[in-house]
């Protein structure tokens, strides 16, 4: 069962389409990377997952249940940090965690609060008021708030914002540990591929509200393979032919056109097989690496 | 201001008229009936009276209150509410019969007889001979058989005119009333809305009532007199 199942969600703010027909699934135990430039629709999507924003259309299910109808039960198992870490300046780190632990139906032990602060590296500032915290410390506290009640799904929106390189490394290690050792499902968003690729086993790229590419990280980032766009007169037939072929390329789901990832040397062979199958190939374009592809599509905004 | 000036004119005219009467009756003597009344009242050196006071003024809402009235010869009088605030006619409460007659500083002028509440009463006017007294003229309605004063109407120098009506019961032999009613004229009462912070609709009934009735009364109904037991002077301070 998918922990997160998003079916064709869209969100309009007047004439602006912030999210346009996005679908994806996140399986249990996965670290799912949600990649996109600032303003691409990442936070809007995350807010819809957490029922902070009402989708204009589409369905969202978490743990197999509709978020609209089972909100309380679902959110009991979810911990989230959304965008910048906004906190109460007049409360301390410990007081924040105590406050957010109190709203959970399952009691959170005091030892959990201490352990969570240690996990994010804030144990030494536990009783200091947040107004004295740096951005990085607030970020850590935001993550701590998401973790304090031991949720099974953790949603982290740009968790490394404002952190120094050591801090970034710490959070990366934390995410990996949570997934590997504790079996948590983690949905993490960022605008930096370099961050995501180190922790996520599945990546989705969103741009201008639309899903651009989704796939297994290893596959998407294999340097031996290139992203190839095949233009034909009959894309459906071409795709069917490719799928039934021996090439087993990695298909990048797109609404229009055929995008695949396959080894560089296989490109001409694929062209031959399409022509032999009677497909009229108009052009084949190799897009370099996924990073280049990501930079290209995001810089075209 | 106008009212005050008007009062002053009345007072001066009355004083002038009184002095004419006095000069005409240079050899006038105190009326024997007044003497009789004074003798009766003279039995009382002091008293403490317990009673209930009722205030009936159009612009005042007050409940009945328990009072104690202290009197000491010749003319010391104090009304004390049994806890709480008491309202008394300005200057009028001291003008009881005892206070008026005990001064002995007056001449009397017979003024005929009059029927009052089914009784034939002798009417006698008192004119003060001492300019320091704060009243100008007082009219008494007296029962000649009982030597009891049933009504007085007194004009004061500073505080307008008062009528005092008396009813008698078990203490009639000492000339002490069982009920006293002070009647007096009231002025308009009005405080600006900006002071009272009362905005919005005024109670029309209250306004009508205030406009109609310019007379007020204060009644004291006595239940008990403690007579000639001594009263410390501090009570009257």
């Amino acid at each position: 069962m998918a922990v997160i199942k998003v079916d064709n969600i869209s969100k309009h703010f007047g004439a602006l389409k912030a999210v346009d027909d996005v679908s994806f699934e996140v399986q249990a135990g996965q670290v799912f990377g949600f990649l996109g430039q600032n303003g691409s629709g990442k936070s809007t999507t995350i807010r819809m997952l957490l029922s902070l924003i009402h989708p204009s259309s589409g369905n969202i299910e978490l743990f197999g249940k509709s978020i609209q109808k089972n909100r309380a039960a679902i959110l009991e198992q979810v911990g989230a940090i959304i965008e910048r870490p906004d906190l109460y300046p007049y409360l301390s780190a410990t007081e924040h965690l105590q406050l957010f632990a109190k709203v959970r139906k399952q009691k959170v032990a005091a030892s959990n609060i201490t352990k969570t602060l240690e996990q994010v590296g804030l144990a030494h500032r536990a009783h200091d008021k947040v107004q004295s915290f740096s951005l990085g410390m607030k970020q850590r506290l935001g993550i701590a708030i998401a973790l304090v009640h031991n949720p099974s799904l953790i949603i982290l929106d740009e968790p490394t914002n404002g952190l120094d390189p050591q801090g970034i490394a710490d959070i990366r290690a934390l995410i990996q540990n949570l997934a590997k050792e504790e079996g948590k499902t983690i949905f993490v968003s960022s605008h930096l591929l370099s961050e995501i690729e180190q922790v996520a086993n599945q990546i989705l790229i969103i741009h201008q509200g639309k899903k651009m590419v989704e796939g297994v990280t290893k596959e998407l980032l294999d340097p031996e393979k290139r992203v190839v766009q095949i233009k034909t007169l009959n894309d459906e037939q071409a795709l069917a032919t490719i799928l039934s072929s021996s090439f087993s390329p990695y298909i990048l789901p797109r609404k229009e056109g055929v995008f695949l990832k396959l080894p560089t040397q296989a490109i001409p062979l694929l062209n031959d097989s399409l022509v032999k199958a009677g497909i009229s190939v108009i052009g084949i374009e190799a897009k370099n690496s996924l990073e280049d592809y990501f930079l290209q599509i995001t810089s075209n905004a | 201001m106008r009212m005050k000036k008007y009062k002053q004119i009345i007072v001066h005219c009355t004083v002038w008229m009184c002095s004419v009467f006095i000069s005409l009756n240079a050899m006038a003597q105190t009326d024997p009936l007044i003497e009789k009344v004074s003798q009766k009242l003279g039995q009382v050196n002091d008293y403490v009276a317990e009673g209930v006071m009722k205030t009936d003024v159009s612009f005042i809402k007050a409940s009945l209150g328990k009072v104690k009235v202290y009197f000491k010869k010749p003319n010391l009088l104090k009304v004390k509410k049994d806890g709480g605030i008491s309202l008394l006619p300005r200057g009028g409460v001291s003008l009881t019969i005892n206070s008026l007659l005990n001064t002995k500083q007056y001449t009397t002028l017979p003024a005929g007889t009059q029927q009052l509440n089914g009784k034939n009463l002798t009417v006698i006017k008192l004119i003060p001979t001492d300019d320091n007294l704060d009243w100008v003229i007082s009219t008494l309605w007296i029962d000649p058989q009982e030597a009891l004063v049933y009504k007085t109407a007194t004009t004061t120098k500073e505080n307008g005119s008062y009528e005092i009506t008396m009813q008698y019961g078990e203490y009639a032999n000492q000339g002490l009333a069982s009920k006293i009613i002070f009647s007096f004229n009231t002025k308009d009462y009005k405080l600006p809305n900006g002071i009272t912070l009362e905005f919005g609709d005024e109670d029309p009934a209250a306004k009508q009532k205030a406009l109609k009735n310019k007379k007020g009364t204060i009644e004291i109904t006595y239940s008990k007199y403690t007579i000639n037991k001594g009263i410390p002077a501090s009570i009257f301070q």
């Binding site: - | 003024v57 409940s63 309202l87």
Partner: protein
């Protein structure tokens, strides 16, 4: 739900801003009490100049009960502005801070949170009123002593016996709590419509001033709407201090002149509270939380 209320109260009383209102009320009351202690006789003399022409008033007119009445008259016009400082910040303040999204991603519904916030704001308002009552009534009684309550209204005077006063103040404070809770709910509604607090605070204060003017001006056109304005009813705590008289014009101890007026006002204020809070819940439920 009780956890949420506890959390909201905790947040309210951890903020320094909360104590401004308590301090302001204390300062105002102490200053007025000091002034009246020093110069109260002159003030009382001014109030009683019409009465003194006709009657002698014997007793302690300027006692704690009258001082409390004077204080309530002044403060219950201005305390709503202090209430608005907190109430109008309850939701918009969190939206501005960015913490609203943290609250709305917890396992409690938005309705729960909104109601918890309103209840917490109401508790704050009641505590403020209790503080005002303590200072205005009990401290005044201690400083000025007690006697009958000699109330000088615009057109008449009411003399209420000492023993008949205290329960009226209890009634008046209970009534005043409804008045202030109406302000709380209005501020709360304004707060639910904005992502920063300046607008709702100013908006609430402006609404109170605007409707108060409509309520007090004696213009026939305004008389049509006056019965429905909450500001028309907010000051009817004074009705607890008006008594009935019998046909002999004797005041009836323990009576209230116009109980229906009090009931109507309580009803209007309660309806306003329910309306404003319900509207707040609906607005928040439908709102996209973008802050």
């Amino acid at each position: 739900m009780w956890s949420l209320i506890q959390i909201e109260l905790y947040k309210i009383f951890r903020r320094p801003r909360t104590y401004i209102a308590f301090g302001a009320i204390a300062a105002l009351i102490i200053v007025i009490q000091f002034g009246l202690k020093m110069d109260g006789d002159a003030y009382a003399g001014f109030l009683m100049k019409d009465i003194n022409d006709t009657l002698t008033v014997d007793g302690k007119v300027l006692n704690g009960y009258l001082i409390c009445y004077i204080l309530l008259q002044l403060l219950l016009v201005h305390v709503p502005l202090l209430v608005a400082l907190i109430a109008a910040d309850m939701i918009s303040g969190e939206a501005n801070l960015g913490t609203l999204r943290l609250l709305f991603t917890t396992p409690y519904s938005r309705t729960h949170w909104v109601l918890a916030k309103f209840i917490a704001a109401s508790i704050y308002t009641i505590l403020l009123l209790i503080w005002l009552a303590f200072l205005a009534l009990f401290v005044s009684m201690w400083i000025f002593g007690t006697d009958d309550l000699f109330l000088m209204k615009s057109n008449y005077v009411v003399l209420i016996e000492q023993s008949d006063v205290l329960w009226r103040y209890v009634g008046a404070f209970v009534f005043a709590s409804f008045s202030l809770l109406t302000v709380t709910s209005l501020g709360f509604l304004m707060s639910s419509m904005s992502n920063n607090s300046i607008g709702p605070i100013v908006g609430t204060m402006s609404a109170i001033v605007f409707f108060t003017i409509l309520s007090t001006l004696n213009i026939p056109l305004f008389n049509l709407v006056k019965p429905y304005l909450f500001t028309t009813h907010m000051n009817n705590w004074k009705e607890f201090f008006d008594i009935k008289v019998n046909i002999n014009n004797e005041a009836i101890r323990g009576s209230i002149l116009n109980i229906p007026k009090i009931k109507t006002s309580l009803w209007v204020l309660t309806m306003h509270i329910i309306l404003f809070v319900t509207a707040s819940v609906i607005i928040i439920k439908k709102k996209d939380i973008l802050s």
